[in-house]
């Protein structure tokens, strides 16, 4: 299970970590980025120190020179992506393409900005903002209306709802009805899917890039992946395999205004199919979940009645 805690900084201040052995460059970058109130920057000179910073504070963006005293920027970016898969990585460097060992890390997709081109340091703040706000380095598809969708998600007090037994009861009923290994009710946040309820597994949160939900949210109607390992989008996702997710079916949790908050999902450890009647029942379960969410959104916690499961 993923255990990190993301901040909500990406919705407010962009937290930048800059790593460069040259103090002058660090000061220049701090000055450029420091001019903008929606960004904060911390500078350091080695991978080791940067790693310590990562452990202390969440980051939205890491900028690094290629050659560092204790490794390369790719070594650093690998650590960043392990901890913060959605963090933007920018190679801001004196190194030319020929000087970068790009064959050693073939899947290290980063932005590249050469210090050798005059004026590039002035472009850094804009680049940082474009990549982070525009989600230009995330490893999954993003709904077109994502900003508005996330605003709507924040209207629901999910921490409060997660303690409600009503959602656990619905998950229990659904698991029994469909005869599957696990059922969960997931809410898709900016970087993670948080589970309001889960039955049949001890799951509470997933990195967004490892969810099937972030794909199914873009589809109309229920989505069924009969065999996850036979689907080219997920067959190489080792996390799904570790969790035993072999078959997946889900339906959107859609507000009355049409915003998709997340998914109600059925999980099984072997490939399986669902007929039309199953999918209709799944829709009804999802409607019930949304109705419970709506009731709780409209009524402040202090006024919630026992009938609502408190």
């Amino acid at each position: 299970m993923e255990t990190r805690i993301y901040s909500d900084m990406d919705r407010e201040t962009i937290a930048v970590l800059h790593v460069d052995g040259d103090r002058g460059v660090r000061e220049d970058v701090a000055e450029q980025i420091g001019e903008y109130s929606d960004m904060s920057v911390t500078g350091t000179r080695t991978i080791e120190r940067a790693t310590d910073r990562l452990a202390d504070d969440p980051v939205d963006c890491v900028i690094s020179e290629y050659d560092l005293s204790d490794g390369t920027a790719f070594d650093l970016f690998s650590r960043v992506r392990e901890q913060y898969p959605d963090a933007a990585c920018i190679l801001y460097t004196d190194a030319t393409f020929a000087e970068i060992d790009n064959e050693r890390s073939e899947e290290m997709v980063v932005e590249y900005l050469s210090k050798r081109i005059p004026g590039t340091e002035q472009r850094l703040p804009g680049l940082v903002r474009d990549i982070t706000r525009g989600r230009m380095q995330v490893g999954y598809p993003v709904p077109e209306n994502e900003d508005e969708r996330l605003d709507t998600v924040t209207e629901y007090d999910l921490d409060e709802f997660a303690s409600s037994p009503a959602f656990e009861r619905l998950a229990t009923l659904a698991r029994s009805h469909f005869g599957v290994n696990a059922v969960f009710i997931g809410i898709m946040k900016a970087h993670e899917e948080e589970l309001l309820a889960c039955r049949g597994a001890e799951w509470s949160v997933f990195d967004r890039q490892n969810t099937i939900c972030t794909y199914s949210m873009l589809e109309d109607g229920p989505t069924v992946i009969e065999d996850v390992q036979a689907d080219s989008r997920f067959e190489h996702n080792e996390r799904l395999e570790e969790l035993g997710i072999r078959s997946w079916a889900g339906v959107d949790l859609t507000t009355p205004e049409g915003t998709v908050l997340g998914e109600l999902c059925l999980i099984h450890d072997t490939p399986r199919t669902y007929d039309e009647a199953d999918l209709e029942d799944l829709r009804l379960f999802a409607e019930e979940v949304v109705e419970q969410l709506e009731l709780r959104r409209r009524i402040p916690p202090s006024e919630t009645t026992p009938e609502l499961g408190e």
Binding site: N102, E103, V109, T120, D130, G139
Partner: protein
């Protein structure tokens, strides 16, 4: 062709019988625009030949090619730069960014990008998370710099469900299929041409 913001179009075209010509014609812009090709399934030289066959005039100071086909050669006169192989997304991405910056820093305000083709990329890079990161990075750069990106994919290499997912970073999709003549040579293929459909970017 008018653009208010950058646009990225995914064009499906079967490899067998497809010529890429209709796609190439979209990339022939005005004389003051830049043009960047990324090739994984044909060499840089072949791409330039195709561009010229379609009526384009290759101009080194406003054009460049990232050749990841494994069969191409670097060429200083033609501004062709090579990357080891289609699976090397790090190399393709860094070289693409570097050439894009060079074109822009030479005073070219708008750059068009032709990507031939995503099918090879998907064949060599199985992890869709990396593919999305790669596509977001390229299409994001094109969009924020008000450029135009045309990305070609063979629809027969992917399920329709996967194609729908891959569409997300793009502003529109165009489907091109083989001609009647080609269909006669390859029974089972049908002719269908659709205009490039975009959401609301005003491209075509």
């Amino acid at each position: 062709m008018s653009q208010q913001v950058g646009s990225n179009i995914l064009v499906t075209e079967p490899t067998v019988g497809g010529t890429h010509k209709s796609v190439m014609k979209l990339l022939i812009g005005s004389g003051n625009e830049g043009l960047l090709f990324v090739t994984t399934s044909q060499t840089g030289r072949e791409t330039i030949d195709l561009f010229e066959d379609c009526g384009g005039r290759y101009t080194k100071n406003r054009m460049a090619v990232v050749d990841a086909s494994e069969e191409g050669r670097e060429s200083v006169p033609l501004n062709i730069r090579t990357v080891s192989r289609p699976s090397n997304l790090t190399g393709i991405n860094i070289l693409y960014s570097s050439l894009y910056e060079q074109l822009q820093s030479s005073g070219i305000a708008r750059v068009r990008t032709g990507f031939y083709d995503l099918s090879s990329l998907l064949t060599y890079n199985g992890d869709v998370r990396t593919i999305f990161r790669f596509l977001h990075t390229l299409t994001g750069r094109i969009k924020t710099s008000e450029g135009l990106g045309i990305f070609v994919i063979d629809p027969e290499t992917q399920s329709e469900q996967t194609l729908r997912s891959l569409m997300q970073p793009f502003d529109g999709r165009g489907d091109t299929q083989v001609s009647d003549e080609t269909a006669d040579r390859h029974p089972g293929r049908r002719r269908r041409h659709r205009g490039v459909r975009t959401h609301d970017q005003g491209v075509r």
